[in-house]
């Protein structure tokens, strides 16, 4: 029994890899029938205002146009879009501020009307013929401007444009700062609006059949989409069926309900005909979601010995035009602040503010990349001010082993931060490089930077955490597994299969995970977000496997005449525990169970597990850069991320996940930023040419490493890894530039334009 083969912990190949390297994997657009009508949305060309009229006459005359729907036609059912579990408590429900089409437009690109035509070219032509007249209002793009008196107002329910303001008060900040001899360090830190840039744009199609509206969508959250389509259309939720096939990446953008309600509505307006809504890349940038731009102000009061006396954070989060995920994003970042470097006297305030920008929603890291840029840039600024090395300062102040957060009950069970920093230092030869790069002159300079990050898995106790799983035994002893948790590219299906194999005691190859979710069939689950799925699904998989195994062994008792207590299922074989003797193959048992003339039984199990725990997931980044001062360029030479995400379910896939997050972090640090036209409010660079996400030529080798500390709260010892890899990259690169040049830059991306201005200010450029 000790040598039992385990799937968990091994780098098995992805269960979907074969289909994906052969072109067999079907994504939404691949599944859509060719008879589909094409839909096209008419977007607002003003950033703030009201639609006075929509002239659809010319568009309707165009041959091939089926329907033209305007903001004046759609039902006034306001709905929320955030991919959060629903709350039956109204006070905890997401803000319902969206309509499928709106006459009160709040950003350049808001959705005003839609056309449905027999083909995409006709739809495009018709869209151009729809004439919209607006009453234009002044608009505001910047958070601070939006909070000023007299600023343009976006939502009547939120005077002053503040969606929410929350804070933390612990200890007594005002008293604590009176301590004599304290050094005050203050900084402002700015992060930009960036976009997810999943390579598959959002796409969905809808049709009526079986007395239902059927929606197939590129989404991370099918069960939530079902609920919101029901809410938006004002129809019973059971009348909505949502199918999620393979999706070409999501990164949080598809953790929002996007155009599924509109597409469903358009189909219903066309007699239930199949309608496809396929948005362009430009629309993905302008009209789906972006990462919140957050401006943070941190004041630290530090003793000369390098300990914190008191700290204060104020963060302003740019929500854009609608609430979407809203305040949760900046609030999560604020939550990290008092925990990462515990200090008895802390004040924190965060504001989420509406502006006339594209809507900000969930994006990989959910407020933590922004918070870590601020906190970890500031940490280096503080270390410099007190004359300590960045790593020494962190070791002294970072969350210690045994720390427990009173709210979430999360505990830092291990000396994770130091273990991660040790590993990164060893890879980078950190201490030597810190010394070597300490004093440099000349145009080309090198630097090494460090940043740690705080993250926690899943959303309990802020929100519901639940996972459901179904297992069905096939005649051959293989098992169909379904969970509500979704494969979005991260490898979830493979991890679930590995866990199911071990929990049940069957070979990995005998687990058939059903990748696609269909809300008519798939057990309830809220989907891919909060890096939760391996953690949460682990519980329901383990529990359901236990139930199925119990049924299998009970049936085995009938066939073997051995007591259940003497039986076990190992590698697909019923064995007798006392001597390990194989009694029966699971396939034989399953066949007998189905076809037995004396006792036929379909052996299945299904269960829900509500998760009332949460787990920290920590790590760090070290980055080495070369700065070409006069060319205003930073070249990343080397970078390592070290993560403690508990036990690795699949080391190869875990590492791949880290690479992707690091890549996204590199873009965040160096090149990515949505830019807006000050005159019109329009997104200026809403395409993959002008928006600079990294190509293969923009990366050095990406080194991903792990510290594997078994997470005690977790069914399989694992915890968050999906989002953490992006969290500490940008501040590490920023801190490396600081070491190289002595210039601590307070904003990202560290683009040549920013470096030009900063190097001028810092006297490095003689211009």
């Amino acid at each position: 029994m000790e040598q039992r083969k385990r799937a968990v912990g091994t780098s098995v190949n992805r269960v979907d890899a074969y289909d994906k390297v052969t072109g067999r994997a079907r994504y939404t657009d691949d599944l859509c029938g060719r008879e589909a009508y094409a839909a096209r949305i008419i977007h607002s060309t003003v950033a703030n205002g009201r639609v006075l009229s929509v002239d659809t006459e010319e568009a309707k005359k165009l041959p091939g146009v089926v329907r033209v729907i305007t903001c004046f036609d759609v039902p006034k059912n306001y709905y929320p879009t955030a991919g959060h579990p629903w709350s039956t408590d109204e006070a905890h429900q997401d803000v319902s501020d969206r309509l499928m089409l709106t006459d009160r437009v709040r950003f350049y690109g808001d959705d005003v009307a839609a056309v449905v035509a027999e083909d995409e070219v006709t739809a495009a032509r018709a869209a151009r013929l729809v004439k919209v007249t607006y009453e234009e209002y002044p608009f505001v793009l910047d958070v601070e401007d939006a909070m000023k008196d007299g600023a343009p107002q976006l939502h009547d329910a939120y005077p002053g444009n503040v969606l929410n303001h929350t804070g933390i008060r612990s200890g007594n900040y005002e008293e604590a700062i009176k301590e004599p001899g304290l050094i005050r360090i203050e900084g402002w830190y700015d992060t930009p609006s960036v976009q997810h840039c999943h390579i598959e744009n959002f796409v969905c199609y809808a049709y009526e059949a079986d007395h239902k509206i059927n929606v197939t969508a590129s989404t991370q959250i099918p069960h939530i989409v079902r609920r919101v389509v029901g809410q938006a259309l004002g129809i019973p939720w059971g009348k909505v069926r949502v199918i999620k096939p393979y999706i070409g990446g999501g990164f949080g953008n598809k953790q929002d309900v996007l155009y599924e309600p509109l597409c469903a509505y358009l189909s219903m307006q066309c007699g239930g005909h199949l309608v496809k809504l396929d948005i362009s890349r430009e629309e993905a940038f302008n009209c789906t979601r972006v990462r919140h731009a957050i401006r943070s102000h941190i004041v630290s009061w530090v003793r000369p010995d390098g300990t914190y006396a008191a700290r204060k954070l104020t963060a302003y989060s740019n929500q854009g035009a609608y609430a979407s995920h809203g305040h949760g994003v900046v609030a999560k970042g604020m939550g990290a602040f008092p925990q990462l470097y515990p200090c008895p006297h802390v004040e924190a305030d965060c504001y989420t503010v509406f502006t006339n920008r594209p809507v900000a929603g969930a994006m990989r890291g959910y407020g933590i990349p922004q918070a870590m840029f601020a906190v970890e840039s500031h940490t280096d600024d503080v270390a410099r001010a007190v004359g300590m090395s960045p790593i020494e300062f962190r070791r002294k102040n970072v969350m210690p082993q045994g720390y427990v957060d009173v709210f979430s009950k999360n505990e830092n069970y291990y000396d994770t931060f130091n273990e991660c920093m040790d590993k990164a230092s060893a890879y980078m030869d950190y201490e030597r490089k810190v010394r070597e790069y300490a004093v440099q002159t000349g145009n080309i300079r090198r630097g090494i930077g460090l940043a740690v990050f705080w993250y926690n898995t899943a959303v309990w106790p802020i929100s519901l955490e639940t996972s459901s799983c179904r297992m069905v035994l096939n005649q051959d002893g293989s098992v169909q597994v379904q969970v509500g948790e979704t494969e979005i590219g991260q490898g979830a299906d493979t991890a679930f299969s590995q866990m199911a194999a071990d929990a049940l005691g069957i070979p990995f190859e005998n687990v058939h995970i059903i990748s696609s979710q269909d809300t008519d069939v798939t057990p309830f689950g809220t989907g891919a977000y909060a890096s939760r799925q391996t953690y949460t699904a682990g519980f329901s998989i383990e529990q359901t496997a236990g139930l199925l195994k119990k049924r299998i062994l009970a049936y085995a008792q009938e066939l073997t005449r051995m007591p259940v207590s003497q039986l076990d299922l190992q590698e697909g074989v019923i064995v007798r525990k006392s001597d390990g003797r194989p009694m029966l193959l699971l396939g034989e048992l399953a066949t007998e169970a189905l076809y037995s003339l004396s006792h036929s039984e379909h052996l299945t199990a299904e269960s829900t597990y509500q998760i009332k725990s949460n787990a920290y997931s920590f790590g760090c980044t070290m980055a080495e850069v070369e700065v070409d001062i006069e060319a205003c360029k930073v070249r990343l030479i080397d970078i390592v991320n070290v993560h403690d995400c508990g036990r690795l379910i699949n080391p190869a896939l875990a590492k791949a996940q880290v690479h992707g997050g690091m890549s996204m972090g590199i873009g965040y640090a160096l090149s990515e930023m949505e830019k807006f036209d000050a005159v019109t409010g329009r997104t200026l660079n809403g395409n993959l040419l002008d928006y600079k996400l990294s190509t293969a030529m923009d990366h050095p080798h990406l080194e991903g490493q792990f510290v594997e500390n078994y997470e005690p709260t977790s069914a399989f010892g694992t915890k968050a890894l999906g989002e953490p890899p992006v969290c500490s990259v940008a501040p590490a690169i920023r801190n490396a530039v600081l070491q190289a040049t002595g210039i601590g830059i307070s904003q990202i991306p560290l683009s040549p334009h920013v470096l030009f201005e900063e190097f001028k200010k810092g006297g490095l450029l003689d211009v």
Partner: protein, 171 residues
């Protein structure tokens, strides 16, 4: 749609496109407005050819035409007339066996969401069939016409590099 039908549609323009797709000679009437992506996906159901940006910026629709890689989204379908086109679907052997590069993408965990994968693999095929040995930096350049948001390119480069070395050492 057959030829006579298509020509009777007023205001629309069609043209017969004869070409070789994955080794097979084929012909079909094509709307002259169609991109090669449209033709391959709609007329031949070759859905490995993905639509990511439709303006030549992401590489998801990459296919080989006469031995060179092109973004089929910005290639008119009518231009395919007389040409030899290869897509990911053509790489698999007659008995469903994978090519070495497909297997390498699996083994190196170079696949995540899979949406950029077909395009990358076709560029890898052009690299491998050149018979040249590229440095890691050169490989990055050869693959730089593809955007991937999942992998950071690391394992994709590993897959291509390892397959390249394997092929070169076996010849």
């Amino acid at each position: 749609m057959n030829r006579s039908e298509s020509r009777s549609v007023p205001g629309k323009q069609y043209r017969l496109v004869t070409c070789t797709i994955n080794g097979k000679a084929v012909e079909t009437m094509v709307d002259v407005r169609a991109s090669l992506t449209d033709m391959l996906r709609n007329d031949y159901r070759l859905t490995s050819v993905k639509k990511g940006c439709e303006v030549g910026e992401c590489g998801a629709c990459n296919v080989m035409i006469d031995g060179e890689c092109y973004n089929s989204c910005i290639y008119l379908a009518v231009w395919a007339d007389g040409r030899d086109i290869r897509t990911l679907e053509g790489l698999m052997g007659p008995d469903g066996e994978l090519s070495d590069i497909q297997q390498a993408f699996i083994d190196e965990a170079a696949v995540q969401c899979g949406f950029c994968t077909p395009g990358f693999i076709m560029s890898a095929v052009e690299i491998l069939e050149s018979g040249r040995e590229y440095t890691r930096e050169e490989l990055k350049k050869q693959l730089s016409g593809h955007l991937c948001r999942c992998t950071g390119y690391e394992n994709i480069l590993n897959a291509v590099e390892k397959t390249m070395k394997k092929r070169l050492s076996s010849t």
